[in-house]
Symmetry: C4
Subunit: 197 residues, 4 copies
């Protein structure tokens, strides 16, 4: 039950964040298709941020499915993750029209990095609450994709003062590797479902 409420709250926050970003997409003043052109970079950043928040929702969903126990520390680790995610709309609003400027692109990377680190901390807090022999520990194994993403964010931030567009490309690439669903979790869940049959 405790776990349910954590999931519900996280879902609600991510749902609001994902839709609040739409408020940055103001309709153009003109009435021609060409008036949409200035919206293109904004819409692209919206898509990228939607995908990132979608990835976190998906991963959170998979992660919590193999969790049996929640602790006070987990609640705060989860709020810490939500705090970083909540900065996505502002960071996206700044980067949207400034894809070639160092600061907005770098700051967007910092928000991605913060979210990634916060997710890792949440994983650790859940491991501490559920123990070494838990389904979760078994499901996590070594978190290669997570470590890779964090390394990629750090590189992208480092590169942003010089070639911001390269940093943006890295963000897109990281999103792409995450769109592949997390097999590690699915394997354990599948086993559980089989055992139920």
């Amino acid at each position: 039950m405790s776990k349910n409420r954590l999931e519900d709250f996280t879902d609600a926050v991510i749902a609001v964040l994902i839709t609040i970003m739409v408020l940055n997409l103001r309709p153009p003043d003109g009435v021609h298709v060409s008036d949409l052109r200035p919206l293109v970079p904004k819409v692209s950043v919206y898509l990228l941020s939607f995908v990132f928040l979608g990835i976190y929702w998906n991963n959170h969903h998979h992660l919590l499915q193999v969790v049996d126990r929640i602790s006070g520390g987990v609640l705060w680790a989860n709020l810490h993750l939500l705090l970083w995610l909540s900065l996505t709309p502002v960071a996206a609003a700044w980067m949207g029209p400034h894809l070639h400027d160092s600061a907005p692109v770098g700051v967007y990377g910092v928000v991605l990095l913060g979210s990634g680190v916060a997710f890792t901390i949440l994983t650790r807090a859940l491991l501490a609450a559920n123990g070494e022999g838990s389904r979760l520990a078994q499901a996590l194994g070594n978190d290669r994709k997570g470590t890779l993403s964090i390394a990629a964010y750090v590189s992208a931030i480092a590169v942003s003062p010089f070639v911001p567009v390269l940093s943006v490309a890295v963000y897109v690439a990281v999103a792409a590797i995450w769109l592949i669903p997390d097999r590690r979790m699915e394997r354990v869940i599948a086993v559980d479902v089989d055992e139920l049959d």
Copy 2:
């Protein structure tokens, strides 16, 4: 449980979208009933968009009720649907004061079409996860109303450069045929309820 969380998240996103559209309805500056007149087209488009989002919520509700299994692909197909639905408020805000202009009317149709196609993709992903002999496969049968809507949206978009008002009429007509609840699903659900008695 997995299914519950998918439903909760979808409900939360649609709930936020449906209410965020109200933010486009700014109160008039004046204090007379006549000052409400410029709001009439905006309110009409709000009503239409509310009904469309309501239809998707209803159909999603009916669809998920006959679903037993969720997969990673389903999660992304669902997020893809939410992405299209999330563009409804912007599209509505643009079309609101421009019911006689081709581009805003056509773009609104593109968002409706995208949502319709995304719903079909979600249906396919659910079918793939639940198998040919599932309750879902039995409930879906041939999706006449869905195919008809998509054809109607395509026609409305094609017509929008010439007679935008006709496109708007098509959108209203499609909304009207969906207001009739989806008997296909209700039939299967009714059988289940009877079996439980």
Copy 3:
């Protein structure tokens, strides 16, 4: 389960509405307590609208607790209620600074009336789905407070062109009589709880 999702969606919409109204409360430009004075009518209307939405949430909560079956018609009756409730923030934003003007006060009454009528329609749709001998039918009895409220709203709208401030007083009075919890439902629920013991 069907019922749960209806409740979740309604909760989410009302939760967003109740908090979106806060967006109308912009902080003053000055930094003195006296700069808050122009906010007083706005905050008062916020309080009133918060209480009205709270009343609908409470009544919806009590109503659904004695409901066993949901139908397609109920889903739409519920969306119809949410549509009226969703107009509360705009109506409140208009009435906030114009408590002595006929149109904003009258329109606020129309939204209250629409919500009240929509709640009655929802009750009827639920009765039709649950039957004459259901717990719901037993719990509802004759809906005196509901009928009284609708009569009060009609009177307040009729009076608004002449003495708008009197209409506002009627709105406050109706809110006050609803703050008393709905004993009819609680009686039936209490019986159920006793039977479970």
Copy 4:
């Protein structure tokens, strides 16, 4: 079930509040890191308010976990709490750029005080509904941290006309003592979990 819906609604409202505050964080007009400097006090107040809302969510979560019965009075006590919490974003938006001005700092304290008192009232309403011998009564014991916080808020408000920055320091200190999870509840919950084993 009744309890679940109360939790869901509270979660949704707090989730919206926590994310609506982000709307006050507008991206800077410039594209340099130095353009972020004026955002620093705003972001700090955002962090503080996020933590406060997070504390209420955590405490609400812990509190409801040891609750068995809900009453009509509890529903209203909960809405009363949500009303105060809903004023956090406006109060934060006012205090954000005015950390050295008496009125914004004092008003922020009033909102914190109102929330604190409302939480105490909710606790009382829950105690009345669950009885002296309930798990809740056992878990609460004497509420030292709650009483201390309310005393601190009163002092901070009293001090705000003279040294507003000291009041802000008190708010931060109170947030810090609450970041330590509520052991009183966890002890009782832990016992329950053990009994289930």
